[in-house]
Every structure is written in C-alpha cells, then in structure tokens.
C-alpha cells in the first residue's frame, strides 16, 4: 500500500490529511487512486496528462517525472513544491 505524503498546501484538499494510503503499482495508478479518494486534488498534481511543472514528485528518494514509473508496495510517494535557486 504505497503512501502518498502531501505538502501542507495540498492537505486542505485531502481533508487535512498529511498522508494518504493508496493502491497502485505505478505512479499513475497511485495518483489516480489518490484523486479518487480526494477529488479536490484533481488537476493539482497531474495536469493535461503530465506532472505539473510547479510540482515535483519523488518515489522514496528518487525524483520521478514518468507516470509509468513503478511504485513499490511499501513505497512513499512525496508530492513537493518545485524549487529553483540563485
């Protein structure tokens, strides 16, 4: 059961939860399940079929942009705001 860790900004859209248990073997499945559980999150992570440019997603320690990337059943999916630098 992959667990999705949500940033503070998105928690109100998931009923205040900081993490959500999901089902799915790929990132796409996991996020679709997340959106099924919390429809308010639709469009906030994936938009037009891809990860939004202002969002970064990591599966455990690895950042992932490919929605077909596998997610281990004990994995953690981190949804984070994008960063840049000087």
């Amino acid at each position: 059961m992959p667990r999705v860790m949500l940033p503070a900004l998105l928690r109100p859209l998931a009923g205040g939860a900081s993490s959500v248990e999901t089902t799915g073997a790929t990132l796409r499945d996991v996020i679709e399940d997340l959106e099924r559980q919390h429809p308010a999150l639709r469009g906030r992570i994936i938009d037009a079929g891809v990860i939004r440019p202002d969002v970064m997603v990591a599966v455990d320690a690895d950042e992932v942009r490919d929605l077909d990337a596998p997610v281990p059943s004990a994995g953690e999916v981190h949804i984070l705001p994008a960063i840049a630098g000087g």
């Binding site: 940033p7 942009r65 953690e76 705001p81 994008a82 960063i83 840049a84 000087g86």
Partner: protein, 746 residues
C-alpha cells in the same frame, strides 16, 4: 579530499584555462552594455519616488517635446492595443506600473532618445501625479491586520486563508512527528528570535538590454541575463508576441547570483524599438540596480531547538517570516525546506510566512532563503553545544543528515556529504590549534542547499580537423564553458583544447532553463555527456562501413575506437577526421530534464574573528570553507565558487543592508554606502573540497555555486559571540550593532 575512490579521469579534475579567458583579460568580451548597434537609441526608465502611491496621471508631453527624444512608453503600451498581460500580471506591474506603485524605484515610464544625457533630461520632464499612501517596510509589521494593504485582492495561500485582504502571501506548514511530544522529551531547549535585512546580490555589471524590432515583427534582444530562454518566454507573454518571433542572445554577464533571472528592461526596450523603428539600448545605473531590481528578502525568524542531554536533537520549531518585496514570492516556503535539512530531527514543525512589503520585488540570491535560516538555526546549535559542553562540530556530526535521513521535505536523502564535511572540518589545520589572543573568537556553521537539475540542451558538431564544437544555451557566469567542455572531453576521450564551447542564442539550441540553482555544470553536464555518447554512437555507425566490419564489432574505450579483435583502431580525433573530414557534416545533440532535485550540497565554515571592544568593528582573521563538490570538475573554479560565496556571506554578516529612511527610500543606494567587502576587508579564504560523488550524475557532479554562502552568517555570529560573550541576533553585525549589543551604546 577524496572520500570515495573515484574513477581515474583524464580531464575532469584538471585545471585548464577557461576558453573565454583571453577575451576577458584583454577587454574584448562583450557584456550587456557593450552592444553598440548602428543608430541605436538610448533608453531610460522613469521611477517612482514614493514607496506606496496611486498613480493618478502620467503626462509625457513635455518629455516628448524635448529635442532628441524619440518615444515614451508607459504601462498602456505594454498591454498594447487589445493586449493582454494577464498571464504575468505581477511581472507586468513590476516592469511598468499602471495603477499603483508599491515601492520606491518601481518603473512607471520609459523614454528613448538620441543619447543617454537627453534621455535622462526627458525622464525628469515626465510628470506623474501620485496619491501617496502609507507604506510598510517591516515584515512583522506588514503581517499585522492594521498594516497598509499592498494588494486588495490578496488572500493568504495555506491552511487559513482568512476573509479579508492581507499582506501575507502564503503560510507554508511543514510538520513531521509530534512537536509537543518531541520537546517534552528534551533535556535542553534553546530558543531565540533573529532578524536579517534585505541585501543585494551586488553583481558589478548593471542590467543592460538592447532590442531591435524589425518591420516583420522579428524581435531580437541582446541582454545580460541568467536565462535567455526564460527571458524569451517572459517577453513573449508580456508583449503578447509569438515566442517564435523572439530571439534572445545572451551577452557575457557581469555576475548575477540569482538577480538576473527576471526581465526588467528587455520588454521595455522592445516596446521602444517597435515605436521608433530603431534599436534601443537601456542600461541601468547603480541606483536603478539597487532600487529597481530584485534584492533578497529581509527576515524575521523565531526558532526553538531541543536535545537530549547526550546531544541528540529531538525537536525543532521555527516561525519564519520572509519579505517578498512588493509582489508575491515563495522565499519562506524555501526556508521551510532547508532550515533543518542538515540534521536528523524526528519532531519538526515549521511555519513559513511569505509577506509583501513596500520594497523591491525580491529575487533569488545564491541558495535563496537558506543563509538567513542558517543564521538563526546554526546559532541555536552553537548554544546547545555550549550548554551541553560538547564540541560544536562533534554535536553537528552526531546529528548530521546522511543517506536515508529524512530531510525537512519528508523524503530521504540520497548519498550526501554532510558528515564528511564535518569530519574534514574537525581534521582541518584551521580547527585544531586553538585561537589565541584577546577579543577573539572562533565560530563554525553548516549549510545546505538543494541544487536543482531542470532542462538543458546542447549541440555538438565535429569539425573537419576532428575537433568538436559545443554549443550550449546557458549563460556562463562562473566558468561553465570550461566545466562543460571538460565533461565532453572526458566523455569522448579528447583533450580539453579540442573542444570549443560557445554560448548561443535561443534560435540555435534546444531549451535551457536558467543558469541558477547550481545547475549548469550538473544538468548541462548531463546533456553534454549524452551528446558525447550520441556522438560516439554516430561515429561508430559511420566508421563500420569504412572499416568494413559490423557496427557491433567496434568498441569505444579510453578515447579510442577499435575492433574487438584489436586489428583496427584509432583515436577519436583520427576517426573523426577520417569520417567527417571532407565528408558529410556531423552534428548531434544532448537534451535532458534533470528534474528538480539534483542531490543537494553541504558546506561548512570555520571562521576566526577579532572584535575591537571600543569601536565594535569585526575583523575576519581566518576563514576556511569546506564543501562537498561531488566530483570537482575544475577544482580551481570550485574553490572560486566557495571563496566567492564565503566573501558574499562575510559582507552580508558584517555590513550589507538596505538602509531605509522614514519615507521608504533606500538611503544607501551606492557602492559607497552599500558596503560590499573590498580586498582589504577579507583574508585569504582557505578551501577544503570534499568529494562524495553524486549518484544522480554520470561523473558524480554536485552543484557547487550556492552552498558556500549558507554557513558564513551563522559562523561569524558564533565567532563574534565567543569573542564578546554576546549573541548576535540581528544582521548586519555592523560596528554600530556590536556597540549597541556589547556596550549598550545606541
């Protein structure tokens, strides 16, 4: 100092002279203001004298009537007939205000004239009628419900948006574990409130842009930017002009440090060029730079840190308010992502408040948000070390983040070098002999910055003599032409001198994100590596018929093509000459999206100071910078980044600040009174490069540009505290401030 056995590289790790060097030591290199086009007009911006005011009317008639003036533009021109700047409303207002000015120095109009002197006279003749409003400069004051509101439509992003207008842009919360339980488990708790002032990147070259709008709508822009592609995109949106009709050529750039990402002059020069039919150049002067570009936020940070008596950090809390300047930003959000990154702490809660104030719109500055956060947090670590009677480096080492530690964003770190930096510091020649003498103190501090990846694209073409041209799209500020050419040379097994790198315009290479976030040597390095591999593959394919062997029979190793049986072989240069020579040209490319997270980098500082007890002046006696560079591609240029970051940090710690008068005017907008460190103010900066290869990069590279500025503010504050016995909670630690805190004078 090499921590792990790294592969034996031939080019990486050497110190060749940068390809752009000769032009820079002879005065040939062309920077933003050096673009002189035939018949070009000179532009100047008209700026607000008020910190907060409604624009009632702008009368440009007298300016237009002045001999030699060719055009005047205002925000109306930016929107254009039927135009739409709604995609970047804040950027549009920041470039040319239409309704309200939100800070002194905000541009409201621009002129183009036959020379700069006339343009300046014309600016004075533009009459702007203002209704002056009360202003707010302090971040905590601006958060109060009775503060003057900058933007009536603003509501706080975050858990508690509230109903009314506010200056709080966003409230970011990061929470892990159970903060109350965490503090309850602590034997020692330290807490304090810290504040830092707005500071400027202080690049020596003022912004300059030249635009030429051709009758067919082709717009060419030459500008001193950290990102030609983002600049092109911003111009397209602000001018409502197709991106395909805009070409941005990045000039040499005289420093940026994050301050030359946003556009200021480019769209305005373009409008003036369209209006006049001539090229228009606009150059900022130093006051324009201080008042009208993007410094980095002042902050107010309350921190609390608790540990068990054996020194294990258990809980940390921070309430961090960061100025965004006049428009919404995300500096405090960054701060929540870095403030506790250096340590394993189970229970953490962080509140970040991004807040607008009547100051210039802030921008990134080298590891944005991290130095101020470290200034606060690393002083508490120092205080804990004192209370627990532990060595401050060993206390840090005991708690340091490592591979698998959860960072403040919740996800685990990959291989990082924090522990290795701390060990290097502990074993350094600087740290071991104790500091002698009265009024002296030694301080240490750690710092972290992410480094980012993002998108890079390069083109590589083989010349008839077997040498290779490398065209990249990232502005080279600190020597990236060299560091990329070295990575390509390593990949294809040729000498550094056989690669000719160049930075090209936006029409000539695929998309590249900004030169920022310490990303170019990292991410463009990955693109270069990919292009190199593509080049080998293509050469192999072309070589096979020449050698009359199947492609699979050809191997490339150590810079040499050879058949598996060893019968035929040739170096890259020999084969490239043979295959391309007089034959068909060969160009390949490499393009990557290296993502946001590029591995992260840790830096550390050891600093010795002496404080004059009568005048409060802090002298830096000795400074050692320690940093994990992953793999140091060009060690001398890595040292240069560490030394430059250290001295910027010294300036920030001791003297630099935006000093505002009561009217909301920056009173010290010159290099006379905004005190960058001079050569006489700093010692030699010793460096220790730690190399813990980054698993995300083919050569183990980490971004090295940013982390070096994170520790010095706190390290110096810790040193001053040890010299004087007084903890410094406010920056800058100017002589005035030191006298106030040590002798109570003030």
């Amino acid at each position: 100092m090499v921590i792990e056995n790294k592969p034996k590289y031939k080019v990486i790790g050497t110190r060749p002279v940068r390809p752009d060097g000769i032009d820079k030591v002879t005065g040939r290199a062309q920077y933003g203001a050096d673009i002189h086009m035939q018949g070009a007009l000179q532009g100047r911006m008209k700026r607000s004298p008020h910190a907060h005011a409604i624009i009632k009317n702008i009368d440009v008639s007298k300016a237009l009537a002045l001999d030699g003036v060719k055009a005047v533009v205002t925000a109306q021109d930016l929107a254009g007939p039927g135009g739409d700047v709604s995609t970047l409303p804040d950027a549009a207002q920041n470039i040319l205000a239409s309704r309200k000015v939100l800070y002194r120095g905000q541009a409201v109009a621009a002129v183009a004239a036959i020379n700069d002197h006339i343009a300046q006279e014309a600016v004075k003749l533009i009459e702007v009628e203002y209704e002056v409003l009360p202003h707010v400069l302090d971040v905590r004051e601006s958060m109060r419900p009775d503060a003057p509101i900058l933007n009536e439509t603003m509501r706080t992003r975050g858990p508690n948006p509230g109903d009314g207008a506010t200056n709080i842009v966003a409230h970011t919360v990061a929470a892990f574990g159970d903060i109350e339980r965490g503090f309850a488990e602590c034997d020692v708790i330290v807490e304090n409130e810290f504040s830092t002032k707005m500071v400027h990147q202080g690049y020596i070259e003022p912004q300059a842009a030249t635009a030429s709008w051709a009758p067919d709508g082709q717009l060419s822009i030459w500008t001193t930017t950290q990102g030609s592609f983002p600049a092109r995109e911003a111009c397209a949106q602000l001018l409502n002009h197709p991106i395909s009709k805009i070409k941005v050529t990045p000039t040499e750039i005289g420093g940026g440090f994050g301050g030359k990402i946003s556009v200021y002059l480019e769209p305005v020069a373009a409008l003036l060029s369209r209006k006049t039919g001539k090229p228009v150049a606009i150059r900022m002067d130093r006051i324009d730079v201080f008042e009208g570009t993007g410094p980095t936020p002042g902050t107010s940070i309350k921190v609390k840190l608790g540990a068990t008596k054996d020194g294990k950090f258990r809980a940390a809390y921070a309430d961090m308010a960061y100025e965004n300047g006049a428009f919404a930003g995300s500096a405090a959000m960054y701060a929540t992502m870095v403030i506790t990154a250096g340590y394993e702490i189970e229970h953490v809660k962080l509140d970040g408040f991004d807040v607008v104030v009547n100051k210039p719109r802030t921008q990134d500055y080298r590891a944005p948000s991290a130095p101020a956060a470290a200034f606060a947090f690393e002083q508490l670590v120092d205080e804990l070390a004192e209370k627990l009677k532990l060595d401050p480096l060993k206390l840090r080492l005991m708690n340091a983040s490592k591979e698998g530690s959860r960072g403040p964003m919740g996800m685990p770190f990959k291989r990082v070098g924090h522990e290795e930096c701390l060990e290097a510091a502990l074993n350094s020649p600087h740290y071991n002999p104790p500091l002698e003498g009265p009024n002296r103190g030694r301080g240490v501090a750690s710092g972290f910055w992410f480094n980012v990846g993002l998108r890079s694209s390069v083109n590589v073409s083989v010349q008839p003599d077997g040498t290779v041209n490398l065209n990249e799209g990232n502005t080279d500020i600190g020597g990236t032409r060299a560091s990329l050419a070295m990575q390509l040379a390593e990949t294809i097994g040729v000498a550094f001198e056989d690669i000719k790198p160049g930075v090209v315009d936006t029409d000539s290479v695929g998309v590249n994100d900004v030169t920022a976030g310490s990303r170019v040597t990292f991410a463009s390095g990955m693109a270069v590596h990919e292009a190199g591999k593509n080049l080998i593959k293509e050469l192999t394919t072309r070589l096979a018929p020449t050698w009359q062997v199947p492609v699979e029979e050809i191997e490339f190793e150590d810079g040499t093509f050879k058949t598996k049986d060893g019968a035929k072989s040739g170096t890259f240069k020999e084969i490239a000459t043979q295959v391309v020579g007089r034959g068909v040209g060969l160009t390949v490319s490499g393009s990557v999206n290296a993502g946001f997270l590029a591995g992260g980098g840790f830096a550390h500082a050891i600093v010795d100071v002496e404080v004059d007890p009568e005048t409060g002046k802090v002298t830096i006696l000795r400074y050692t910078a320690i940093q994990d560079a992953g793999t140091a591609v060009h060690p001398a240029y890595v040292e240069g980044q560490m030394q430059g970051g250290a001295v910027q940090g010294i300036g920030w710690a001791i003297n630099e600040e935006y000093y505002y008068d009561e009217s909301g005017r920056m009173a010290n907008s010159s290099f006379l009174d905004y005190r960058l460190p001079t050569s006489l103010d700093v010692p030699m900066i010793d460096t220790i490069i730690v190399e813990v290869p980054n698993p995300l990069h083919p050569f183990g590279v980490r971004g090295v540009g940013e982390p070096g500025i994170v520790p010095p503010l706190a390290a110096i504050a810790n040193a001053v505290c040890h010299a004087t016995g007084v903890r410094q909670t406010q920056l800058p630690m100017s002589p005035r401030r030191i006298l106030e805190t040590t002798l109570g004078i003030g």
